[in-house]
Symmetry: D3
Subunit: 126 residues, 6 copies
Amino acid sequence: MALVEYADAALEVRAVFDDIKAARGVPDVNNFWKALAVHPPTLKRTWESLKQVMAPGALDPLTKEMLYLAASAAAGCAYCTASHTAAARAKGMTDAMHGELLAVLGMAAETNRLAEALRVPIDQGL
Amino acid sequence: MALVEYADAALEVRAVFDDIKAARGVPDVNNFWKALAVHPPTLKRTWESLKQVMAPGALDPLTKEMLYLAASAAAGCAYCTASHTAAARAKGMTDAMHGELLAVLGMAAETNRLAEALRVPIDQGL
Amino acid sequence: MALVEYADAALEVRAVFDDIKAARGVPDVNNFWKALAVHPPTLKRTWESLKQVMAPGALDPLTKEMLYLAASAAAGCAYCTASHTAAARAKGMTDAMHGELLAVLGMAAETNRLAEALRVPIDQGL
Amino acid sequence: MALVEYADAALEVRAVFDDIKAARGVPDVNNFWKALAVHPPTLKRTWESLKQVMAPGALDPLTKEMLYLAASAAAGCAYCTASHTAAARAKGMTDAMHGELLAVLGMAAETNRLAEALRVPIDQGL
Amino acid sequence: MALVEYADAALEVRAVFDDIKAARGVPDVNNFWKALAVHPPTLKRTWESLKQVMAPGALDPLTKEMLYLAASAAAGCAYCTASHTAAARAKGMTDAMHGELLAVLGMAAETNRLAEALRVPIDQGL
Amino acid sequence: MALVEYADAALEVRAVFDDIKAARGVPDVNNFWKALAVHPPTLKRTWESLKQVMAPGALDPLTKEMLYLAASAAAGCAYCTASHTAAARAKGMTDAMHGELLAVLGMAAETNRLAEALRVPIDQGL
């Protein structure tokens, strides 16, 4: 799949790339955005949504990033696992926190599988 | 699938049930444990592992519980989603926090899928 | 989704139902086949394939059925987990065997997740 | 993700590596364990659990290994599929057995998907 | 999980519900939207995105809806499979088209699984 | 995993390869078929099924191919995503159509996840 570099990008794509770079204080955007640029409306919509969702709120940015990582690893997306591990580290995830996150992920996978294999009925009141 | 009630349980199963009830301060264990009791060694090992993994550490109990919920929802386990949503609420997850967690989950699912459908190469240095 | 009963079925559907009943020695087919009958070519092709795949060969019928159950539970299909648990029991899976199968399933889920979350490189020579 | 080699490992990690090497009669541990060593408690707990789960019991070691492979392939874990295919071969899985296992996996995937797409209700009595 | 009915909804939620009802010409919104209303920003963002994505373009509405159904069934979401099957039928999917879609879904599941279990290398030039 | 080349293939494998090449007008078969050739009965059955399923019917070949791609991407199969993207392009999928397909896939992933995380009850009448 082609990656669209800034120099070759249409104006509407450059505008999104510029916004990502400014928001994150980085000199270039990740491959994800360069790949998504093959469809400018999806690039723009996805970035606008991500900005809104990841803004600080009731949950702090590190917690949101670790949740993103947990969901990405659970979905088995290698690219997403790599990029959100890096993002979480940049936001303050230590080795110890990462280790515990991995332990939770592994445990969740095991109990998820057991609950489904046993077809456990949902507890009353939930 | 049969659920093993305390009154009908073997001694080794009762010992695990007693430990769960004491650790959580609840009068009865969830259906998950009653279902798992069909295989006592798996019941005991799973509970011992869960206790170790979910103990407070570099991550606080609420963060661990929300990560567990994120992984369970991403894996599509309805039972686990229901029980860990309840557990996270019991540990302090507010409506606003839950809403933001849902938003992160949805966004992660979308970008995970796009990254895989576009086969985005992992960024250099990650 | 509608289930097609024998009495209401077209001749080509009845022929498949008859073959399933004869091969399995059962008075009626499972809901899966009644649901699949909404598309007779898929009903016929799926049954012919299943018959071929599940025939005794280098693996015995019980091992095949437990592999089918393991794959179905790992894929999170509740219907399939229910029906292949019953089929494996009918072919000789004891409580102890079922318990160990569950333990393997849970362990596989945990290590699968950890291997993906850590992006472990495949060992040389494999 | 960094792999922890024996020479650079802490004592608690070396102890687990030594136990794996002794149990399996191999000169070095697989990358999975080297990767997991970034979090020693998870390394230790995972190995202890795996040893318990994979010990011979009501199911023989080859059957357990093939179930592990089936679950890993169904979960789409490339690393796990590679390593458990090799492990199953080492325990006696022939080409013919592997071929039939693949056929069951493919058939299960197809019927799992059809059962879910048709939302087939679970048969009475199951 | 609570469903938010129009009568009990906040103004910002009612505005989205009104827009959905107008766009679709229906007297009430589906449960999905009532559930999503627990987090109004996610409700609004999701609806705005969906409207944009499902608008006619290079692909016609029926094709988009069938692709949505295929992705939902492949992801194993029962609610989504039910609602997008109904939506596709409303947009013109006949029994024959549905049957062929199911056949493609089943075949894709089987070959996806086989390709992953065999770790097939991507063909040169792709 | 070994790929079986035509020159090294048994007669029953060559017969399938010949049929694939003739049906598709290509000089060689894809890696998928070369990998599947390790189990000739599965190779033959899979090809016969695929031929039947992908034949023109109530759905045209391009629509079937895009549905195959949507299901493969939703299942996270990298090989399948690559090969069916190429196949869909060969059958007429333009950049604009591909972009819209990606947008639908991403949106479906997001709403699938939200519906499951919220455990939305299926709407009455569906």
